[in-house]
Symmetry: C2
Subunit: 135 residues, 2 copies
Amino acid sequence: MSKDTRLARVAHVLVHMSFNEGTATSETIAAMLDTNPVVVRRIMGALREGGYVSSERGPKGGWRLERPLHKITFLNIYKAFEPGSPFTIATSDDHPKCVVERSANRALSLALSEAAARFEQALSKITLDQLLPGS
Amino acid sequence: MSKDTRLARVAHVLVHMSFNEGTATSETIAAMLDTNPVVVRRIMGALREGGYVSSERGPKGGWRLERPLHKITFLNIYKAFEPGSPFTIATSDDHPKCVVERSANRALSLALSEAAARFEQALSKITLDQLLPGS
DNA sequence: AATATTGTACTAGTAACAGTTACGAGTAGT
DNA sequence: ACTACTCGTAACTGTTACTAGTACAATATT
């Protein structure tokens, strides 16, 4: 599978947006990220649902940051994407007949849950203002 | 990405193999896992490198467990597969020019490392004999 | 009306594991 | 030697989720 790089990329963009009072168009942002405006709209669209940015159509439109950097955490962004499991690892089957296989799946699920909890805990401690140079 | 289910599946198989003194053929194992013999050979081949199982060709050949269940952990199996990062999440780029992006990547990498460490720690505590019914 | 901008449907590219077919390599029994 | 059995492996397809790109509709400003 290819990797999900949305979190790091959007964090980057939001920090840059905080420097400019007005709006940034998808095209501008796409140039920053070296990607396509449509990709930007998809990523930013998810953040809009969470109220972190807003968008306006038409001339002078674009994307606007709706919260200060210190009030946005990596966890906020991560959750906004409504990701599935962040792991490439999974149990073998949801409802195996064999008791041994069920045990194996249960044990693995527990390990995955613990790791996911630790991941989210770590993300929650990173606010976007921490990414500013010299902080 | 499709999910990697090798860990849970092979754990399951090794437990079953411990019940039978002799060897199990790829075909037998494949039937247990409801998959193809070639898939089994690929998975078991990785374990052979780690010394957990051995294989013999020819009639009466097949796969043999080389260690007792309590001496094989989920971490042993996981490592045998030499997986890449267990996460679907990744940083945006290895060597971004922008300082902010580098900060974002560094922060995310740290969170991923912590989660991965926790995952491996959890895996190391699971030995295969714990999967036996009534243990 | 003309222009700028987001919104979104559709298609193609990519990477890793799973699945399948085909065949080569080695071993045991006769 | 022959045959049958079994692993070893290459080559190809299927699956899935993110990335990328094209095309066009919807909307807002001037």
